[in-house]
């Protein structure tokens, strides 16, 4: 098995890393504390051709594989989790349009998204529909040449800043899950407004907004896929999203590990650096092992997708494992830093608060376990 990246991938990742270390990492604390949209960083992502990595070149993208996209996301997250989160949420809009869009839809919406000229967002979650995604109640009523949308979405990442939204709504409530459809909705459409931006445990600069649809008219041309294929669109999109979340978690965990190790070497107690104490050594060993495992599991899920092979189970495993690793590793990192780790002066307390997001968003750990169990029982049930 060849675990190395190709020359092209290496060249790209080296360049991304330089950008991350030179530009994103030094300002990550500032970006987080500013509690506002990281416009400069997002613009730079577009300028560096990072916002359309998997999109075919004819639509302004790089036409590259998802593994490259995932590895780039991991670097971004390691340097600046907020920027990584914007990057990850953006693909949830890019992917469904790329996969299910008509030629006209791709021309109109995909190209500006791939170029980073427009930011994307994905609206599935509602007050009454979290893990129970099928309970979506936003209604899309057919009316002449349009659909009329009514309902509310919450916690939508990039909400308010994004220009393009892929929204899951019900065109036929009687058919339940099979009555869901996907729509492309533009910011500024009459009847489409933004509600509150949640104040969260972490990520103050990542918008997680309420989307409010009140008799919002969306042209039929903006139906993404067929009526009734909304759940499929959502599941496929979340499959990719899971890989994205996993890489975000891995990047975060790496950042925490890379902060803890040098600190343990510098910090002296009882006349020695604390890295010479076995307790700390074992902790660091566990952290490093878990990060490595999460990383490889994530890369494999992306690789399977690129191979055109089924990857849903692996993506769920990666997301589940990486998010839990991130939580453990960041918590341990704070512990290694001791008292100082609890203060705002060091980034590890922020990393620990940020890690929690990954266990919840885009399918909680419980949902991931449901998905994995279904696959495992089917495959190994005998």
């Amino acid at each position: 098995m060849d675990f190395t990246f190709s020359e092209d991938q290496t060249a790209i990742l080296d360049a991304v890393r330089e950008f991350c270390e030179g530009e994103l990492a030094p300002r990550a604390k500032e970006v987080d504390e500013a509690a506002c949209w990281p416009a400069d960083n997002v613009r730079k992502l577009g300028e560096l051709d990072l916002m359309g990595i998997p999109v075919p070149e004819e639509y302004g993208g790089m036409g590259m594989d998802f593994l490259t996209w995932a590895a780039v996301g991991e670097e971004l997250s390691r340097a600046c989790t907020t920027t990584g989160a914007v990057f990850g949420a953006h693909v949830l809009c890019v992917f469904p349009i790329m996969t299910f869009g008509t030629e006209e839809q791709k021309q109109k919406y995909l190209t500006p998204l791939a170029r980073g000229e427009h930011i994307g967002a994905f609206g599935l979650t509602e007050p009454g529909a979290g893990s129970d995604a099928a309970a979506v109640s936003t209604r899309a009523q057919a009316d002449g040449d349009d659909y009329i949308l009514n309902g509310t979405k919450i916690f939508i990442s990039n909400g308010g800043e994004a220009q393009t939204y892929v929204i899951i709504a019900s065109t036929n409530p009687q058919r339940g899950v099979r009555g869901l459809s996907a729509f492309i909705v533009e910011k500024g459409t009459p009847g489409f407004e933004f509600g509150k931006d949640e104040k969260k445990m972490a990520f103050p600069s990542l918008p997680n907004r309420e989307l409010i649809f009140t008799d919002c008219r969306v042209p039929k041309a903006n139906l993404l896929g067929r009526e009734g294929s909304g759940f499929l669109v959502a599941m496929r999109t979340l499959g990719v999203g899971r890989i994205g979340m996993a890489t975000g978690a891995v990047g975060l965990a790496r950042a925490a590990l890379e902060a803890a190790v040098p600190y343990s070497r510098q910090r002296k107690q009882f006349g020695q650096p604390i890295s010479s104490f076995q307790a700390i050594q074992f902790t660091l060993a566990d952290m490093a092992t878990q990060v490595e495992a999460a990383r490889l599991l994530t890369w494999r899920a992306a690789w399977l997708k690129d191979q055109g092979r089924p990857f849903e189970k692996e993506a769920a495993m990666a997301k589940l494992f990486a998010s839990e690793v991130a939580m453990r590793v960041t918590t341990k990192a704070v512990q290694v830093f001791g008292g100082y780790g609890y203060t705002r002066e060091f980034p590890v307390e922020r990393y620990m608060r940020e890690a929690k997001l990954f266990e919840i968003v885009e399918g909680t750990s419980e949902v991931q376990r449901m998905v994995i169990a279904n696959h495992v029982i089917r495959e190994l049930g005998g």
Partner: protein, 262 residues
Amino acid sequence: MKIVVCIKQVPESTEVRVDPETKALIREGVKGIVNPVDENAIEAGLQLREAHGGTVTVITMGPPQAEEALRHALAMGADEAILLTDPASRGSDTLATSYTLAQMVRKIGEVDLVLCGRQAVDGDTGQVGPELAERLGIPQVTFAIEIEVVDGKLRARRVLDDFFEVLEVRLPALVTVVKQINDPRYPSMRNVLKAKRAQIAKWTLADVEADPTQTGFDGSPTQVIEVWPPPRRGGGRMLEGSVEEIVEQIAGAIEDMNLGAG
């Protein structure tokens, strides 16, 4: 506008070590990078291309690994890169280097603007730019912190001592830039891949019709006869105590110095 940017590949760190036996610089394991202020020169070239159209060609004279520096320039967005690498150019001082670069620029032909960084972090001479301008017979503008081209004329703001000077010259001209002129862009993914695949032209001294008496050791009027690590100024003593005690000691030392007495 046809723009040529002269760059140099330099060691990543200036923490240089000298072999005590041979007095030669220890170069193994030292990563090469584009001389930092040369990145500013490349960026300046790219910005002028964006404003006025044209091409940016990046050139360098050096050993084969200097190609990496050129690839970085291409990754930033330069159109073309040319490496002059020839063992006979080894030992070139600034005069010989500027002669060789001049031959390269002449071979490229019809160049409107030559851009250089102010000085390289290894040689620190800052001489190649002006000497190159003299060899090409074009005006030079050094220490530029701002450049613009208006109606075929180049206008640059120079930073000198305690004042700025805005100078205007006709093109073709040569400009050396300082770090404060701009923020060099990061390579975009497209340009990284383009740079990776790009063919970098490799020229020899013969390709530029260089007179061998003007290049390499033979063409260098100056010669380094020795290199040595500098004598380190030693430390003195550390002052201890409370803030008041320390301040008293400093004040006493200052008074003893009899400053202002001429």
